[in-house]
């Protein structure tokens, strides 16, 4: 069953069109990856789902339209977002950053904090540290943790491995799998690192200049010579 349905979605920055008639579904309980080069429209897609850009077309969450809804309403409906640049609150502690994430889910604070500390023990150790003084990997963890504090059903993660050490990338991949397997979350990630996406996602979509040009399992996409050469390095 599709948790997220996207139909003929276009996105605009003023008069410039960044996404062109995208249509796809995200099945509940799956990890889906959207791969593409810089400027392909990956971040715009996630921003559009969150109501942060001007869009045309339909976005439905569990059958309910969320097109052009306000970001805070989309969060309440069950979408969490960890953006590429993290957008953390630099002079607030790790704990306070997480608590802001709980703004719409205050009754779940203890449960969610417990889950986040199990997923990222380092965040509990450094809960009183301001995020301005943290490493990229730690900020990524805070960003994911903050998104999880809103008790989402769908987690959007923009370029989770960008600028991170390989060891941290593996840690993040492990956490995303655990979120799907242990906590029944649905995850939509965007990635430039196609091999990371292949190792993680059941289904991969390829975005080029705002157009969805391919979609399939890792085996299906790897067998396409052009895509394999362009994105998967073989």
């Amino acid at each position: 069953m599709a948790l997220l349905e996207i139909e003929n979605l276009s996105a605009f920055y003023g008069k410039a069109q960044a996404l062109h008639d995208l249509t796809f579904n995200v099945e509940e309980g799956s990890i889906i990856a959207m791969v593409g080069a810089n400027g392909a429209g990956k971040s715009t897609l996630l921003d559009s789902i969150m109501g942060l850009t001007q869009t045309k077309g339909d976005i439905r969450l569990d059958g309910t339209p969320i097109t052009a809804a306000k970001p805070q309403d989309i969060v309440v409906k069950g979408v969490g977002y960890a953006p590429e640049r993290f957008n953390l609150f630099p002079y607030m502690t790790v704990r306070d950053n997480l608590l802001v994430g709980a703004y719409t889910a205050r009754e779940d604070i203890e449960t969610n904090l417990d889950m986040i500390h199990k997923l990222f023990p380092r965040l509990e150790e450094r809960e009183n540290q301001e995020t301005v003084s943290q490493s990229g990997g730690e900020r990524q963890m805070v960003s994911l943790g903050r998104a999880l504090m809103s008790s989402p059903r769908l987690l959007l993660v923009d370029e989770p491995t960008i600028g991170l050490a390989p060891k941290v990338c593996l840690e993040i991949a492990d956490v995303l799998k655990r979120l799907r397997d242990e906590f029944s979350l649905t995850v939509l990630i965007t990635e430039q690192n196609a091999n990371f996406a292949l190792s993680l996602a059941e289904q991969i979509m390829v975005l080029e200049s705002g157009h969805l040009v391919a979609s399939g399992t890792s085996d299906e996409l790897s067998s396409d010579e052009r895509l394999a050469a362009a994105y998967f390095g073989h």
């Binding site: 805070q72 309440v76 957008n87 630099p90 607030m92 802001v100 709980a102 719409t104």
Partner: protein, 283 residues
């Protein structure tokens, strides 16, 4: 010397209260509210009208000043800031015009002569030769109680954290489910309340007259520029620097030069350290 110390502490607490409402708006809404002094003007006259002209209890007068200031803040946000969203120059010019308009309304209703506010708490205590009017002491203590409560509120409540979040990263706040418009409106309401209450204390410290909105605005701008835009702690520290600078100037140089060194300090800080002594984009 003791008198200077006491006067400095009393004045600085009041200056901190005056400046903090201005800081809140700049941090959260990124707007220089040039009508901020008008909150103090309206607060002072509201207290005068209800407590001295109608004879209501003085604390009711202070509370009513806060309520009117709160309403003024909300109206300003809804009628000026929201429609002009993003156009900071237009907002700043509009707020300045609003302050002049409110000054005219005050002159129309109350006349242009200055008024003496009766002390909120009458009486004077002498400590080691230093005269401490109870009213000023009350204003300083009330300012500190309000400032500490505000600091705790910003640090420890969901709404306070949301205000910090909006001030640091609007997109981050939005994707956390924080409604920036509501937070902004709340901040304008809070700033109006704080400004109006500060106006009662300021008018009782100095006097009540239609042009009284200018001096507190300059104090607020000075504290925010020197302290660093957006920092409550910076605001508190610099309010004390400015307060003591004024008291020391009055006591040891000349009362007429009271505000001059504050102006010089602003210029020096702007040239030497434009981000202020404690400047970082947080509350």
């Amino acid at each position: 010397m003791l008198q200077v110390l006491i006067q400095g502490l009393l004045l600085s607490g009041l200056y901190a209260l005056i400046a903090v409402g201005f800081t809140l708006i700049f941090s959260v809404g990124r707007v220089l509210n040039l009508a901020y002094g008008a909150y103090l003007l309206i607060g002072g006259y509201t207290y005068f009208y209800f407590s001295q002209q109608l004879g209501l209890p003085k604390f009711a007068g202070v509370a009513l000043a806060g309520i009117i200031g709160c309403a003024l803040g909300i109206l300003k946000f809804q009628l000026i800031v929201r429609p002009l969203k993003g156009n900071h120059v237009a907002i700043e010019i509009s707020t300045l015009i609003l302050a002049v308009f409110l000054q005219s309304v005050v002159i129309f209703v109350f006349g242009d002569s200055s008024k003496i506010l009766l002390p909120i708490i009458p009486g004077v205590e002498r400590v080691a030769g230093a005269a401490i009017p109870f009213s000023n002491l009350f204003a300083a203590i009330a300012s500190w109680v309000i400032l500490i409560s505000l600091w705790l509120f910003v640090r420890s409540t969901h709404m306070g954290r949301a205000m910090q979040a909006v001030s640091m990263d609007a997109k981050g706040a939005a994707i956390s489910g924080v409604d920036a418009t509501k937070i902004n409106m709340f901040t304008w309401a809070l700033s109006g309340t704080l400004g109006a209450i500060a106006g009662v204390f300021f008018a009782s410290y100095t006097q009540l007259y239609p042009g009284m909105w200018v001096a507190p605005l300059i104090i607020a701008v000075a504290v925010v520029i020197v302290g660093g835009i957006g920092s409550i702690i910076g605001t508190l520290i610099v309010a004390h620097i400015v307060g003591f600078l004024e008291i020391l100037t009055s006591a040891y140089i000349a009362p007429e030069l009271r505000g001059v060194f504050t102006m010089l300090l602003i210029i020096v800080i702007l040239v030497w350290r434009p981000s202020g002594l404690f400047g970082r984009e947080e509350l």
